[in-house]
């Protein structure tokens, strides 16, 4: 079959060569004649009333072309969106304030106050220093538990710091605990972490010959053209986004970054304007992954069967709402993990504080949930003196089961406990070391994570495919490529259906006006959504070709296939029509060899947020990770020796790309577990560079062993499931469980730094 020619093949990505030669122009590699340089003037205080902004000195500096404040922004306050075509309402959209306004509160250090465009970067920097800002300092509130209390300092203009509350109730939680033979309780603290992509935020804007605003930017969401148009009070079709290849995003380039700023400056000066964040600016002013405080209580029978699970989450949303509501909902739905539990009660509160705002990050809220429930599973195993894998086997969902939180029945294959067993097996025998101070431990964790957006967002993706007269293919998609090979995959799918070799496909991509909108590269949705859109578009052309070729070859269309540029009769491949000939015949008969197709996800209504029930996601990916660590009990230093990552990927459309996600996700998780903490004290970021914010290097990273289960049961093309975010799940609790196995101490607050391990060991020894 034609599919087997390209699907499942580890073909190199189409963008790979431009990346190794250095030819690829990322957002900050692109310049235009007469270009101005932008800088942002930001708040130096985390909580204050903005009294006045005096720009006169900055404006009079030679070489400065524009200085803008909130007064210059046509619509300074709109709502935050991330590509959805309609407002969901119900508290899901937050305030998007472009620049701080006089007479209103500043909410975090780094909040933008004014913008400068100048003839050089140095002049723009100097101008920023000349802007005089009067503040009235306010106390602020930095701890989410304090911010929730009545009478707490109010971060914003509303009369409560609580952004949203979510809940899930199944069965009767009180009865469940009464019936339980053992009950365990624990509390976990999870910090803010940073995406730490290597490419800082960057973009350039200019006006074309007709006054249309063009923005070339590194973004996961080109649909922000609408949001920028709203800010500028322009019709949507007067703002065009051209997305670049992204130098890493992980959710951090899902919200608007530089775009509104350069757009405003270009409209003011009529000049191209470029803005590139410094690393410090990037680290201290883009969103963070939500910090969580989690209280868990689990009741079980002595045979290991869990009868009740209660969880209370407090999420630190930072200063502005952004994607906080969605993250809270993800966490709530994921809170009982992949376990069958008859009595469940989940409560999630997302709270504003005067810290940098939190928003999207690979895994959304489900990693925080996963850290909690998978730590609890090992605690339960210990309490019952059972094997950690066994306790999971007793309680985990099997194919056909429903989530214990929402009751959503999973209609695809559930690769549990299979994935956990395979990951555990893959670890092999524990390493034996002679050093008495080094303790070896092994741990496992499993979980579920959605792929595709929440169904009440009513998601869709479009793709255009066309066959040229010489047999080459043109593909157009508005898909942003995060580095996961998103664009190349669409080419692979369409080429496979039409028997075109991959090198004859040219993809045009990520243009909000010229390529069909494919939706955001977020939520592990592109393989599923845009993959299906590309497949649908290609199939329409395929059918047109097969029907016409059948006439020529005098067979039925279903007796034909397209393989290696030939339309062949399946039972006798010596009978064929060259693809170029089929194209010629179609063109001369007026048969369309182009198609733009739309794929829609399942659509649902907005659930009752106090008790979320039914379908909230199209489907879930299931998997597990197993880890071996060596803990030095004298220094507390943890070294991860082995990682095995096992996932049901449905179908590995490009195995190299899937492995790449699984390897990269594991190592990003290693950082989350052991070193990464975007620490903020009284609103002041403590880790403004990679000297303080420590991500794994090659020396910290073991070779990740990947095991792919291909159940074929996914909702993506050819049965694929999404794996981008799921691959980042499980790894943190697997490491914590391995540390526990090695030392007998449970780490309740990540990252599991040497200091925390030593302190926990001392506490344990005093018992």
């Amino acid at each position: 079959m034609s599919k087997s020619r390209l699907i499942g093949q580890a073909i190199p990505r189409q963008d790979a060569w431009a990346k190794v030669t250095g030819d690829l122009k990322y957002a900050d590699d692109f310049s235009l004649p007469g270009m101005l340089y932008a800088k942002v003037c930001r708040s130096k205080h985390p909580a204050a009333l903005l009294i006045s902004v005096d720009i006169s000195k900055a404006e009079s500096l030679k070489g400065v072309r524009a200085v803008l404040t909130a007064k210059d922004v046509p619509r300074n306050e709109t709502v935050t969106k991330f590509g959805q075509a309609t407002d969901v309402r119900g508290g899901f959209e937050g305030l998007y304030r472009v620049l701080a306004e006089e007479g209103k509160k500043i909410r975090y250090i780094g909040e933008p106050i004014a913008l400068v465009a100048a003839e050089s970067e140095a002049i723009a920097e100097k101008a920023v220093e000349l802007i005089e800002i009067q503040y009235e300092l306010l106390p602020g509130v930095f701890d989410p538990e304090k911010a929730m209390k009545p009478g707490a300092y109010l971060v914003g203009e509303k009369n409560s710091n609580i952004v949203n509350e979510f809940g899930c109730i199944t069965g009767d939680i009180d009865k469940g605990f009464k019936a339980s033979e053992v009950i365990i309780q624990d509390r976990f603290e999870i910090p803010f972490i940073d995406h730490a992509y290597l490419e800082p935020e960057a973009g350039i804007s200019w006006l074309d010959d007709y006054g249309t605003l063009n923005i070339r930017v590194s973004t996961q969401v080109i649909e922000h053209f609408r949001d920028v148009a709203e800010v500028l009070n322009l019709p949507h079709n007067k703002v065009r986004y051209i997305g670049t290849m992204i130098g890493g995003g992980f959710g951090g380039k899902e919200d608007i970054t530089v775009e509104s700023f350069i757009a405003l400056l270009t409209l003011k000066t009529k000049k191209p304007v470029r803005l590139v964040y410094t690393r410090e600016e990037s680290l201290t002013t883009h969103c963070k992954k939500h910090g969580f405080i989690e209280k868990y209580k689990i009741g079980a029978m002595k045979n290991g069967k869990i009868v009740a699970l209660e969880a209370h989450y407090i999420g630190n949303a930072g200063a502005y709402t952004y994607l906080t509501p969605w993250v809270g909902l993800y966490a709530t739905v994921s809170a009982s993990g992949p376990y069958k539990i008859p009595n469940v009660k989940i409560k999630t509160e997302m709270v504003l504080t005067n810290n940098i705002f939190a928003s999207a990050f690979r895994g959304f809220g489900s990693n925080q949930a996963n850290i909690g429930y998978e730590s609890m599973m090992d605690e339960l195993a210990k309490k019952l003196n059972m094997d950690p894998l066994e306790i999971r086997k007793i309680n985990c969902m099997r194919t056909g089961d429903a989530l214990s939180t929402t009751g959503q029945i999973i209609k695809t294959y559930i690769a549990l406990p299979e994935a956990a067993e395979k990951a555990w097996e893959g670890l092999g025998e524990p390493t034996v070391l002679k050093d008495k101070n080094i303790k070896i431990g092994q741990g496992v964790a499993m979980g579920l994570m959605s792929y595709g957006r929440m169904t009440f967002l009513r998601d869709s993706s479009r793709c255009y495919v066309k066959l040229e007269t010489d047999g080459s293919m043109i593909l157009r998609s508005g898909i942003p490529d995060l580095g996961g090979g998103q664009i190349s995959l669409l080419s692979q799918i369409a080429a496979s259906e039409l028997g075109v070799p991959i090198h004859k496909v040219k993809a045009f991509y990520t243009d909000s006006m010229l390529t069909p909108l494919a939706g955001t590269t977020t939520a592990t949705r592109q393989t599923y959504m845009s993959g299906n859109a590309a497949l649908k578009a290609a199939k329409i052309i395929r059918n047109n070709i097969l029907n016409k070729a059948a006439e020529v070859l005098n067979v039925n269309p279903d007796q034909l296939d397209i393989i290696s540029e030939k339309v062949v009769v399946k039972y006798d491949q010596s009978q064929y029509l060259a693809l170029t000939e089929a194209i010629r015949v179609c063109n001369s008969s007026g048969i369309e060899l182009f198609s733009e197709a739309q794929f829609n996800a399942p659509f649902t209504g907005i659930p009752d947020l106090t008790n979320i029930k039914g379908m909230t996601f199209p489907d879930f990916a299931f998997g597990a990770q197993a880890v071996e660590v060596a803990v030095d009990i004298e220094t507390g230093v943890v070294k991860v020796l082995k990682i095995v990552s096992c996932y049901d990927v449905g179908k590995a459309l490009n195995p190299t790309s899937v492995e790449g996600q699984m390897e990269g996700g594991s190592i990003q998780g290693l950082g989350y577990a052991l070193t990464e903490d975007f620490s903020i004290k009284e609103g002041i970021p403590q880790t403004p560079s990679f000297t303080e914010y420590i991500i794994p290097t090659s020396l910290d990273s073991p070779d990740v062993k990947t095991i792919m289960i291909e159940s074929g049961g996914g909702l993506g093309p050819y049965g694929a499931k999404g794996i981008g975010e799921p691959s980042f799940n499980n790894i943190v609790p697997a490491i914590l469980n391995a540390i526990y196995d090695a030392t007998g101490v449970r780490i309740h607050q990540i990252p599991a730094t040497a200091e925390r391990i030593i302190r926990s060991l001392k506490k344990e020894n005093l018992k």
């Binding site: 580890a10 250095g22 995406h195 490419e199 290849m245 690393r279 580095g483 790449g660 990679f690 090659s698």
Partner: protein, 163 residues
Amino acid sequence: MEEYPLKITVNGKKINAMVYPEQSLLKFLRSKGFTEVKCGCEKGDCGICTVLMNGQTIKSCITLAIQANGKEILTAKSLEETEIGRKLQESFVNHGAIQCGFCTTGMLMAAKGYLDKKPVPDKEEIKKAISGILCRCTGYKKIIEAIYDVAVENYRMEGNGHV
């Protein structure tokens, strides 16, 4: 502030320019169109701006342009001029050692610096050779394998036996 004359060879091409003493080699190279040298932090933390200066890997963001006076700089654009460079590029492509690609040119130059020393192929040594460069996407495994394969091939071609 006074500008100083700079004579520098980049990828075999001689360049004469005037530079401010505080200008970094990174900013100088990018201003001359060598945008294959990426800017990630300007503090020497991330290493993606790595180039070769007289055969040594250096971080161009914490090297002053004037320090490169009279020296030879090689960026990723030079790779296609050498067999090792071409092999490295091909190996990175075929191994899927590239995701977002933002660290790739720096990684390639560190790999080139390592291979130019004609080492006995050793994955631990490769890990050390690239340890100054951060990659957030790949987890490093495929990068290490890509370099290792070229190292093994080179080692054999130098007349050595199997590794």
